[in-house]
Symmetry: D3
Subunit: 203 residues, 6 copies
Amino acid sequence: MTGGAKPRSKAARGRGKGDQAIMALDLPMAALSPTMEAYFSKCREKIGFIPNVLLAYAHNSAKLEAFVGFYNELMLGPSGLSKLEREMIAVVVSAENRCFYCLTAHGAAVRALSGDPQLGEMLAMNYRVATLSPRWRSMLDFAAQLTREAYVGEAERDALRRAGFSEADIWDIAAVAAFFNQSNRMAAAVDMRPNDAYHTQAR
Amino acid sequence: MTGGAKPRSKAARGRGKGDQAIMALDLPMAALSPTMEAYFSKCREKIGFIPNVLLAYAHNSAKLEAFVGFYNELMLGPSGLSKLEREMIAVVVSAENRCFYCLTAHGAAVRALSGDPQLGEMLAMNYRVATLSPRWRSMLDFAAQLTREAYVGEAERDALRRAGFSEADIWDIAAVAAFFNQSNRMAAAVDMRPNDAYHTQAR
Amino acid sequence: MTGGAKPRSKAARGRGKGDQAIMALDLPMAALSPTMEAYFSKCREKIGFIPNVLLAYAHNSAKLEAFVGFYNELMLGPSGLSKLEREMIAVVVSAENRCFYCLTAHGAAVRALSGDPQLGEMLAMNYRVATLSPRWRSMLDFAAQLTREAYVGEAERDALRRAGFSEADIWDIAAVAAFFNQSNRMAAAVDMRPNDAYHTQAR
Amino acid sequence: MTGGAKPRSKAARGRGKGDQAIMALDLPMAALSPTMEAYFSKCREKIGFIPNVLLAYAHNSAKLEAFVGFYNELMLGPSGLSKLEREMIAVVVSAENRCFYCLTAHGAAVRALSGDPQLGEMLAMNYRVATLSPRWRSMLDFAAQLTREAYVGEAERDALRRAGFSEADIWDIAAVAAFFNQSNRMAAAVDMRPNDAYHTQAR
Amino acid sequence: MTGGAKPRSKAARGRGKGDQAIMALDLPMAALSPTMEAYFSKCREKIGFIPNVLLAYAHNSAKLEAFVGFYNELMLGPSGLSKLEREMIAVVVSAENRCFYCLTAHGAAVRALSGDPQLGEMLAMNYRVATLSPRWRSMLDFAAQLTREAYVGEAERDALRRAGFSEADIWDIAAVAAFFNQSNRMAAAVDMRPNDAYHTQAR
Amino acid sequence: MTGGAKPRSKAARGRGKGDQAIMALDLPMAALSPTMEAYFSKCREKIGFIPNVLLAYAHNSAKLEAFVGFYNELMLGPSGLSKLEREMIAVVVSAENRCFYCLTAHGAAVRALSGDPQLGEMLAMNYRVATLSPRWRSMLDFAAQLTREAYVGEAERDALRRAGFSEADIWDIAAVAAFFNQSNRMAAAVDMRPNDAYHTQAR
């Protein structure tokens, strides 16, 4: 054997079985507010584990709560975009930014919600190879350009309108794409690690 | 006169005196929750106007509240970074992304908080021309690289540690830089316009 | 349901069960030389299917034979690099170029040869997040830079020498990285589709 | 206080009150030709100071004189472009190149000549957010592309013709845009510092 | 004299008169197969020298033979593209990648086959300045985009079809462009040096 | 024959034998000042032709004279840089910008002044393949970075100082590199064509 794994930074925090590091910063978990304790319990019940992004934010209960509030409104709140569509945008943005954490976690979500594992793979690798409806293609083109150039103009907004999106839908497409430009950078900056469970979900 | 202004999209929403458009999406202002009504009143009292970013989010009271919660925790909550330092990161990220709204609003904040208008100008134009302490230079280099490449590694985290930043400080530098990668894209996507007041503040 | 699949170009050639298109060019399969007929039989026996890249080249038996000769010498011939290492380079180059075909086929190979599915995922998404031995890190850095910049200098060759690679090993690292810059572009240019089997292999 | 200013290179030359450095090269001011002496006197009379770019060139009277001759013909000589239009091109090119000196000096000129301080800010931050006449938009698009790609073709020249520009106007747009690609790099290469006066002009 | 040449790496292999290095790797020439011996003799007879790319591959007879087989089928085999057209693609790809070896060797081929030395120069410097037939322009645009972006879509394939290229022609354009993305990187990775003869050919 | 030349824009101005176009703008030659008439005569005597860049500027005698004054001071005036060194910078900058006119004219100058035609070719294709003295390498690295990024810092200036360049030399390196960033864009913007004579000079 010629290669092999190098141990990660000693500073990295381990949690849960196997004491696996979840990020490169050495920040102990804080005492959580009752609301957040309850939320963590709900995670364990519903999906069987606490997503590592939440454990990473949990070094500060106030930051965790603000993040959870913002995230859940965006990805699970009422919207003209389906949950699958929001996850598709998340994956395409994360592919542009090559974010290991988000591609793993949200790639699993696209595979699960779409029932089409290859769609998840295509969006994570290069969404332009997928044969998509005009609605989906314009939505993902907008998200990808906004990610790459940090700029879109009236022509790009009009392309979404022509594809049938409402003004509120355009806000939501922008908001999801913008949010993952934040999350991708947060994950990279602290070297966040996805839970193992995602890798085999919905293959 | 050979040039001149073209009227903006009819869809754009106007609010306040002069019915000036605040963004390119035609989204009527929603009924706000009492908490948000109170927050808007406090803005008018304290700074004399409501920042247009809040008016833009106000098409949906729940989204507005989630945004305000996340933003205030990040920029005004307890942190090893001073408020000026957080604003400096905001400006440098917004300069990388060429965001008119954020450069205008947060450039004014840097001028005001630092008492050094030229520092604000330098960060908005090209932070590398400013003569900065190693602490500030490493903080802004990290933010700029994270913005451009959406990636940093252990070497970049170690540079912050050597400059004296704690693990929690590194989280906060990352969090502010990541957040403005979101805000810059949100502002671009809906063509958000800064309040006129910012332009002349603290010159 | 708001989205959905659009049928691919009528010109695309279908082969095998379900008449699935393997590329966007409409090129009928040629009569193959006896050597290539035998090679196709061996593929069916050994791995249960004929990789679509070979079916794509099979519109011209001479081109197919030249490709197979070049490919097999490079990826399966004697070398100081293990087969896994050659597949790792293939995946990292294909990730830089965002090649759906090669990431799918060679990502499966890395998962299978390494027995470490997450290694395959990391290389396909962003190899810099993987904790690697100096040998592997230098090998993949060299391949990634050669891909992105189409240039490396003596400093980059010396980094490989310091990591223990021989002159012949350096040739082979370069040759595999260069080859996949060809294959990625060939796959993109004709919109080559990977066989379904790869997606679920070695998860 | 956590940050603070670092003194600039000892080599940097100071001139005028406060002995403030005007660039990073240590080049003493030369004896000027009578023409240049007269020109400097005229500057002091008319605008109250000598622009630092001229003081920087003044280490060599012949170079200074050639520069002044070329600059004044270009920016002040007869042209189908107004002086404001030439300054607008200067600012947009300098924004692409993130040139602190030129954005400061020529941003002030756009604010003053246009009587529209926000126009100056928009061009310095991201000209694409400004609502402009087709004439101005095409002029600035041409300048920005020429800056970024160092290439334009007949399609780009034809866009200027359709916007009403003559062949001589196209030459002048190109000449101003090309010139500031020179000036921006000269300012960066020697770390030229704008006179303080510009920062507060025409706000 | 202020500058001057620095001797190249001692490791570099010399061959032929003057013992000039042909690449930066120190790999002794292998015993060649009879087929390759015969091929080298034919080179010496027909063009008076052995191209250095072949001498570089000659450290391994099997690799050399696989390369020669692949190359000759591609560049000299039957095709709807003329030999000049294949060489034009080689030069344009090599210009995008700034490959000294391939620009020198294939630039000479374009000058010789076209009888138009300036065409060779233009393609080596910036093919967009050449006034070309729609057939040639679309062929070179496709090759340049495939090189730069490692991606083309159905729109780009359709542009070739409209210019009169058959499905097999499109394969061949893609194959030549893809191949030189390999060769350029191979040449850069080992610092391959072109034979002196090319520089003065067909000027 | 499958390809062929397309006639250039009718607007293009022709001059001299064969009525060959020298640029894409239709600007008639102006009456020249006596100084410029004399300068053109000197060109014809000394080098046998008038460089097309001068004929292009000659649509306006004042612009021509300002350009000639600036150019001759820079490239032929007193300097710590030899004329060859200034031409080498011109070629490396023009290669970064892929400027056909300047690569042709100044490539010929490097071949002639150095007596080393291959040096001219290497600088025009990729200067990093040339084996250069530390003085030349640092000079060209500075020029190339200034061209690509429009930014250099104190570290880059110090690299020149360590290579033995004086403060005045650094100014001159910057000035030549900056100037060709102007000239390259001027040539591209008006599609300037080099005189045929350059192509065969000093091969």
